[in-house]
């Protein structure tokens, strides 16, 4: 029987596929972690140890891409240590770490999250290790963490977002009440699927408890994610997006989108982003050094240029952002927020659905 050309080609392709599979296979356990004893006390020795480790992996759930890239660039420039990072939302990084813990192979040395409740749990379970940050006491009082295993490196206020190419700045509402009474479609992120939205709803229930039901009387849409929220405001499907989170708006502006933040009077919900080193980090010295560097004046000042607020009192508010005194900063207890999650979601559903 003559050999069929299709069969010959399939055999060739199958052979190539097999070779590629073999070349991709890497069944080696990860390099050992944290077994080499305590980290050096002196900063000089810590830097040497970190440089010897040669790399550090960051799971960036609390950073924007621009913040993570800036951190990677500045850290490598200063210490010569490359930072490999994965930027996803805080929930996705949390899920990834949980699944990797189950498998016994966490790929990150350092993680950043917006969710202090998960960080508290991990601190109790000793998943995290204190990074001995020298200037930890300089962090703004409302942003102080419950555990010394993690620390706030930036924060953002939650107001509302609008498209300045469609809405004149002079007609932007100045209070939550005005916003609720203003014509136009509002899109609210769903507190069931977005941590930022849950924080926002929690803050609103404290600072302006009538807002949700007032919003519900108008035309309201919801969104499962900040991604959809930004897109809906940009395209004009909605006129206002809640919550408008400063670093999301900064990111959109950097991409050329004409989005702007609205800051209603009074208290505003605040979303701190925290960073922590993992106990089982494959690069423990570099992990500690990266956390310490995140709190350095040098990096805190640099991230200001991106439109990211510093957690150090000494660093000024980024240009174009409203200066917020500590008495306007409403930082919610995330454990309490998690415990009240169902109640807050129910209040949201009742008011706006």
């Amino acid at each position: 029987m003559p050999r069929n050309p299709t069969s010959r080609r399939l055999t060739t392709i199958a052979g190539l596929a097999l070779i590629s599979v073999l070349s991709l296979t890497a069944c080696n356990p990860p390099s050992s972690s944290g077994d080499e004893g305590p980290l050096p006390d002196s900063q000089e020795d810590l830097v040497s140890a970190a440089q010897e480790e040669g790399a550090v992996n960051l799971g960036a759930g609390g950073h924007t891409s621009a913040q993570a890239q800036l951190l990677a660039d500045k850290f490598e420039e200063k210490y010569g240590i490359p930072v490999e990072f994965v930027r996803e939302n805080s929930g996705q990084i949390g899920q990834k770490v949980e699944a990797q813990r189950d498998a016994g192979n966490v790929s990150f040395d350092v993680i950043s999250l917006n969710d202090s409740s998960t960080l508290n749990t991990w601190a109790e379970e000793e998943v995290l290790t204190a990074a001995e940050v020298e200037n930890a006491d300089d962090v703004l009082d409302p942003l102080e963490a419950e555990s010394d295993s993690y620390i706030a490196f930036t924060w953002a206020a939650a107001g509302f977002v609008y498209n300045e190419a469609r809405l004149d700045a002079s007609s932007v509402p100045g209070t939550w009440q005005e916003l609720a009474e203003t014509d136009g479609t509002k899109v609210l992120a769903d507190p069931g699927t977005s941590g930022a939205a849950l924080t926002f709803v929690g803050a609103i229930q404290e600072s302006a408890p009538e807002l949700l039901s007032a919003l519900g009387e108008g035309k309201v849409l919801t969104s499962e994610s900040a991604l959809a929220l930004g897109q809906m405001v940009a395209t004009g499907e909605a006129d206002f997006g809640l919550p408008g989170v400063e670093h999301d708006v900064s990111t959109a502006k950097a991409a050329g989108e004409p989005l702007a933040m609205g800051y209603p009077e009074g208290e505003l919900g605040i979303m701190p982003s925290y960073i922590a080193a993992l106990s089982d980090a494959a690069h423990p010295a570099a992990a500690r050094l990266l956390v310490q560097y995140s709190l350095s004046e040098e990096f805190q000042d640099a991230q200001r240029e991106l439109g990211s607020r510093s957690t150090l009192e000494s660093v000024e508010t980024p240009e174009g952002m409203e200066k917020l005194d500590q008495d306007r900063m409403l930082v919610l207890d995330q454990d309490d927020l998690t415990a009240r999650k169902d109640e807050l979601i129910a209040a949201f559903e009742k008011s706006v659905r």
């Binding site: 299709t6 590629s20 069944c27 699944a99 498998a103 699927t193 050329g256």
Partner: protein, 572 residues
């Protein structure tokens, strides 16, 4: 037409031996053992790992509390009901589009039929969330371009894409190729003499269609519908974007909610159960419908292909084909092309706000882009070929061997369908990231996950193909002295060329843009193209994302053309 017309190709194994002489089946040799090993790694390990996880309780014990907790919630049952609604609607819509379209491109003189057939697979060229974004830009009730410039000026009410109907509409034109491609292949493989025989016995064209043609393409119709149904039941991106604004949740969006703040993977894993139940019901239904019948339509002897003449309906049919092409590919990708030339989607659509190549330059300015493209190409290709090999092995054991355990084959091969991408990603991490495999963060774990993702559909296509092949042709080859391997290589594989190529191209296109699993398995160094696409979207760089989506479409188009040229398929 007499009522005594019988279909010579669709026979019942329990009927007279005159119609279905029992073919002696081989025991299978080493093939079942190889299949067991493959299935253990690709299905049992991750699925059992996930089910085990679903039993995990906060105090580190195991129990069914997670099941009672999740399944006692009213919103979860509402989500399950909504998933059924979307899945039924999408399957019905896909059947209405795919069946006549498949018949037209395969059996008639429809102008441009080879083109329509080749490009159908391109509906999958971008992740689902991109297609949904495209539809929001087109049919958003307030500022969708079609609403703004065509529908409303005509005095019609704006179409609201943020409704269950909008979701069904979007998913129908996104998923219909899962049904269209195997059915078109089945039409190709049908022996015209069966229809001629029916008509010579006095059957009208409609009766021939209903009593001969339709029953013969029932296996691919059912297996394609099963894929569409389960895909619509478990798809996340489009439902989240289009249903989210009006609070419409389905099983995967409910799963997503359970996985956030704090992450409760064990609760989300519970929701794999309803999908497993649905899958089991569908398999049972499939067996009840045509379980013991034979659907042989392909023999070793070539037959003359007859093309039905559409006559005056030729050009109206062409317009209908163009409408499907426009709605499924041109409009959603056209709006992405338009987006790729905009400065920002938030600025008015005017000439001043357009750019020429800036967004494309921004794509290529990213260091990682070429690496991720290369990774995606290789992994998608390797997973495609391996999935075909596994599907062929499973199909052969099921349809050609007498192995006692072959009743397990179909459920095992389809089980991965029960888990949406994100959940499967988690299952992969649990099963393979740690010891003894240590695949976390490698491209290998991505490859294994991709393989698992496409094994079910590869199997359904190949199994349908096997059902159509007359095993007597293979018996004849054996009688002429060919070994078992030679028979497979020189007879079975060439006869299955249509389904293998169709599903091969489909798998590649699907995997080249696979996002849901990739995002979970990405740890920094194993980047693939869809992850970059997603990151651009999260950075609000919609216009750069549009440019990258267009490039991915072009790559897929190139692959479709290359595959068809490489394997000698003529663009008729």
């Amino acid at each position: 037409m007499t009522t005594t017309l019988t279909n010579p190709a669709v026979t019942d194994d329990t009927a007279s031996p005159r119609h279905s002489a029992p073919v002696k089946k081989a025991r299978g040799g080493i093939a079942p053992l190889i299949w067991c090993v493959v299935v253990f790694f690709l299905v049992v390990l991750p699925v059992v790992g996930l089910l085990w996880k679903s039993l995990e309780l906060p105090d580190d014990t195991r129990g069914i509390d997670n099941y009672t907790e999740v399944l006692s919630r009213g919103d979860i049952w509402e989500a399950i009901g909504n998933s059924f609604l979307i899945a039924f609607g999408t399957t019905t819509g896909s059947l209405l589009v795919a069946l006549p379209f498949a018949y037209l491109v395969s059996r008639t003189n429809l102008p441009g039929r080879a083109f329509f057939r080749s490009v159908a697979v391109l509906t999958f060229a971008a992740p689902g969330f991109i297609a949904a974004m495209g539809w929001i830009l087109l049919l958003g009730p307030q500022s969708g371009l079609l609403n703004q410039y065509i529908i409303t000026p005509l005095g019609l009410p704006a179409f609201n894409i943020f409704t269950p109907y909008g979701i069904v509409f979007c998913l129908t034109f996104f998923l219909y190729p899962l049904l269209f491609l195997p059915v078109a292949d089945a039409f190709d493989n049908m022996d015209d003499r069966l229809e001629e025989a029916a008509q010579s016995l006095g059957a009208s064209r409609w009766e021939t269609m209903r009593r001969v043609v339709f029953p013969l393409v029932l296996p691919p119709i059912f297996s394609g519908s099963l894929l569409v149904f389960i895909s619509a039941f478990t798809i996340f991106g489009p439902v989240a974007l289009l249903g989210g604004p009006v609070g419409f949740r389905t099983v995967p969006t409910a799963m997503f909610q359970l996985m956030t703040f704090p992450p409760r993977i064990e609760l989300a894993a519970v929701l794999g159960l309803p999908v497993l139940v649905v899958l089991a019901l569908l398999i049972w239904l499939q067996r009840a419908l045509y379980g013991r019948r034979r659907y042989t339509t392909v023999g070793g002897k070539p037959s003359q292909r007859r093309t039905a003449q559409l006559g005056p309906w030729r050009w109206p049919a062409f317009l209908a084909g163009m409408a499907v092409f426009m709605v499924s590919i041109v409009l959603p990708f056209g709006v992405l092309v338009l987006t790729s030339f905009r400065k920002a989607i938030g600025l008015p659509l005017t000439w001043e706000n357009m750019v020429l190549w800036d967004n494309y330059q921004a794509v290529f300015a990213q260091d990682s882009i070429m690496r991720s493209f290369f990774n995606s190409l290789w992994i998608a290709l390797a997973a495609t070929v391996l999935s075909l090999a596994i599907a062929f092995l499973a199909g052969w054991i099921l349809e050609r061997s007498a192995w006692r355990g072959r009743g397990l084959i179909q459920p095992m091969m389809l089980a991965p369908l029960a888990f949406p991408g994100a959940i499967l990603g988690i299952a992969m991490i649990i099963a393979f990231s740690g010891g003894p495999w240590w695949l976390g963060g490698t491209l290998t774990i991505m490859l294994v996950a991709y393989l698992i993702r496409v094994v079910p559909q590869s199997f359904t296509y190949v199994q349908s193909g096997f059902k159509q092949i007359n095993s007597e042709t293979e018996e004849a080859a054996r009688n002429l002295g060919a070994t078992g391997v030679e028979t497979v290589r020189r007879v079975t594989v060439p006869l299955l060329r249509g389904p293998l190529l169709s599903v091969g191209v489909l798998n590649f296109v699907l995997l080249f843009r696979e996002l849901d699993i990739s995002i979970f398995l990405f740890t920094g160094s194993n980047e693939v193209a869809p992850v970059i696409l997603y990151n651009l979207a999260t950075q609000s760089q919609f216009q750069v994302m549009g440019a990258l989506a267009v490039i991915m479409l072009l790559v897929n188009l190139g692959v479709v053309i290359l595959a068809r040229s490489f394997f000698g398929i003529k663009l008729k």
